[in-house]
């Protein structure tokens, strides 16, 4: 069987999907990154190799997410794309006609506006991360409820409490305050969802024309409370697509297919990279007062990539090719 590999290395999760030639998602793996992107990616590849039949041929590899360059080097990517483009490509393929994508991940949230299948505008959270997955995770842990139960509990609310959602720190203080006053847990959770949605729409979605169909994806889309809060705030139906939590990886696989449509062989290093010794090291360049912290990736002791230098002194010296238009 032939197919494409999509890899999304995010701050919180590392996702891999295998997509066959017809665009069908055959396997999807969702792992926690836990601050060890290289190790977790290798682990993901190992698990994927186990699940896939032996006669598999990888015709193309795409990487995305904040660790896209790293993942691209480790796995041998044919296309390295930012997460906005990847999410947009995935949503517009899985949900034809989509005009608005709400995406909330571990560290950032984005809104993507599409018209006629083409991205026309987008925004990412800038100064404040209030309302992202990590914060919900933290609050669930503090309240000692499994994150999977968060949404279900929030849906039980009858009178959501108003929570100050402008800033994650203040939101937490306010939640504690409401809790001490004796409000019920479901009402507080539902109130938090509403506050985060308000914050998202005011900061990320400001000035954007949100038209249906609206798709909600990213890890936080698993939270039914957030979905309902979005529907109430927008007055629109909000779709959570299948594979909502690995959409970045799906997009990367689709982009890999698009890239390889013109022919050529994939740069995929093979599933054997799970056993290869990769090391990320670094040094401070003393060529100028910028003192750039240069990252160096080695494979079995050989330098295969460098980045982090402002002037290109180190990154250009390897002839490393970034993705061009």
């Amino acid at each position: 069987m032939k197919g494409y590999l999509g890899i999304d290395v995010g701050s919180v999760s590392t996702n891999l999907v295998f997509m066959d030639e017809n665009g069908e998602i055959r396997e999807a793996i969702y792992l926690r990154t836990r601050g060890q992107p290289i190790f977790v990616l290798q682990e993901g590849l190992r698990q994927l190799a186990e699940r896939l039949p032996g006669n598999i041929v990888i015709s193309g590899v795409g990487t995305t997410g904040s660790g896209r360059y790293l993942a691209g080097i480790i796995a041998g990517a044919d296309v390295v794309k930012n997460e906005i483009t990847s999410h947009a490509v995935a949503a517009s393929t899985l949900v034809p006609g989509v005009q608005t994508i709400l995406e909330i991940g571990g560290q950032d949230s984005k809104i993507i506006i599409l018209r006629n299948g083409v991205v026309t505008d987008f925004a990412m959270n800038t100064v404040c991360a209030a309302g992202t997955g990590s914060f919900l995770d933290q609050q669930a842990a503090r309240l000692n409820i499994p994150i999977e139960e968060f949404g279900k509990l929030a849906l039980k609310s009858t009178v959501p409490v108003r929570i100050a959602g402008r800033c994650a720190v203040f939101a937490e203080s306010d939640m504690i305050h409401k809790q001490q006053m004796g409000y019920s847990l479901p009402d507080i959770l539902a109130g938090l969802c509403e506050a985060l949605v308000r914050n998202y729409l005011n900061n990320v979605g400001k000035g954007k024309e949100i038209l249906p169909p609206v798709v909600f994806q990213g890890g936080v889309a698993a939270n039914a409370g957030m979905r309902r809060a979005f529907e109430q705030a927008l007055g629109l139906e909000v779709h959570v697509p299948p594979h909502y939590n690995v959409m970045g990886a799906v997009g990367a696989a689709l982009l890999a297919r698009e890239k390889m449509a013109g022919g050529g062989t994939s740069r995929f290093r093979g599933f054997g990279v799970a056993k290869t010794r990769f090391k990320a090291g670094g040094f401070e360049c003393e060529g100028c007062p910028n003192l750039c912290e240069v990252v160096e990736i080695t494979r079995e002791g050989e330098v295969i990539a460098r980045w982090g230098d402002r002037c290109g002194r180190w990154s250009n010296s390897l002839g490393y090719k970034e993705n061009a238009v």
């Binding site: 930012n82 997460e83 987008f122 990412m124 698009e258 100028c288 910028n290 003192l291 290109g312 238009v325």
Partner: protein, 360 residues
């Protein structure tokens, strides 16, 4: 007297040429770096914009090299910059630096005062000499701008990644080395030859205009080398403000004919922004309109965090973008900016433009 001034891109080349021609001893601050930013940010007010912090850092580093006199531009609001010379000077005084401050106010308001400041700096030189010095500096600014435009064209088309930047640095050294106006033409010839040596191949490129606040536009350290990054992403960039154009507009009051002028940009701004809002706010809006009319694929607005005029312009851009069908992206920079976030947005924006145009 050892004169220094803040960095703003390649402005130092023009200023040093002029002052040294007039026999003034110049201390060029070390190139703006992380150290400059660290020094400046430590002592500047938190909510001042990035230019103030970098200026301050430049002065502190120049002092280490023996500078004792600051030459700085003034201004008359509403942008806060007009007050920066005084604020920076007060901070330096508090820190114990021994500097003399010479502020050049715009000639529209105090011509006599400006002339006396020039006389103070240039000392014994005759007015005729002063005029020749200014002309020399201006000619260098023109050459540097021409060189930058050439690099914008070459970068997305170069065959070997980095070859344009290498040639650019060599060519810049040629311009810097010229000590007398009579040697400029030959240097210009050498610059052209160096840049002609960059191997390119024809390919479809996107064209993106960069608008916004002048310091952030001109200083690559402040804008994370935006032009170079765009070039590497396959984009031919154009900047709405070049130093020589600014000098002609603001110091020569438009004396040199045939240059792009802020007046056109301001004329193009209505009905989106009908009034002067300080800084380059109106130019930002007007230039975006002009880029749209010239068929550019997109526009990027640059501003330092808390920049009021650009915030006004920013709020005008969405309507303009829909009205004229030109995508815009706003990038705010300050000392907290993260490079990764910037690159993600930039790449996504360029993808958007490429897919819209169908050149993926």
């Amino acid at each position: 007297m050892k004169v220094t001034f803040p960095h703003m891109g390649h402005m130092w080349i023009c200023l040093a040429a002029m002052l040294e021609y007039l026999g003034v001893e110049v201390v060029v601050p070390p190139p703006t770096s992380k150290r400059t930013l660290t020094l400046g940010a430590r002592h500047a007010p938190e909510f001042a914009c990035l230019p103030l912090k970098l200026n301050l850092g430049n002065f502190m580093e120049a002092s280490e090299l023996g500078a004792d006199t600051i030459l700085m531009a003034g201004g008359c609001g509403p942008c806060r910059f007009g007050y920066y010379a005084q604020v920076e000077y007060a901070i330096l005084e508090d820190l114990g630096y021994k500097y003399r401050l010479v502020v050049m106010e715009p000639p529209q308001r105090h011509v006599g005062e400006l002339l006396s400041k020039i006389k103070y700096i240039t000392g014994h030189s005759s007015w005729w000499e002063v005029v020749r010095g200014i002309r020399f500096g201006y000619q260098k600014a023109r050459m540097v701008d021409e060189l930058e435009r050439r690099a914008h064209y070459l970068r997305p088309r170069e065959i070997h990644r980095g070859s344009t930047d290498k040639a650019f640095k060599r060519a810049l050294r040629e311009i810097i080395a010229v000590k007398h106006p009579r040697d400029l033409p030959q240097a210009g010839e050498r610059v052209r030859r160096i840049m002609a040596g960059v191997a390119i191949r024809p390919r479809p490129v996107l064209r993106v205009g960069i608008v916004g606040e002048i310091f952030t536009l001109l200083e690559p350290f402040a804008n994370y080398d935006l032009e170079r990054r765009l070039g590497y992403l396959g984009v031919q960039a154009d900047r709405s403000i070049y130093l020589s154009e600014w000098i002609n507009d603001h110091l020569f009051l438009g004396l040199v004919r045939g240059l792009r002028s802020r007046k056109e940009a301001c004329r193009a701004a209505p009905p989106y922004l009908n009034h002067f809002v300080g800084g380059h706010g109106q130019e930002t809006v007007g230039s975006t309109v002009m880029y749209a009319r010239q068929g550019y694929d997109g526009v990027i607005q640059l501003l330092p965090f808390t920049c009021m005029p650009e915030i006004v312009a920013h709020s005008v851009l969405p309507g303009l973008s829909t009205g004229l069908g030109i995508p815009t992206l706003t990038i705010t920079v300050d000392e907290q900016s993260g490079e990764a976030g910037l690159m993600t947005r930039l790449e996504a924006f360029i993808d958007l433009l490429a897919r819209k145009k169908g050149v993926v």
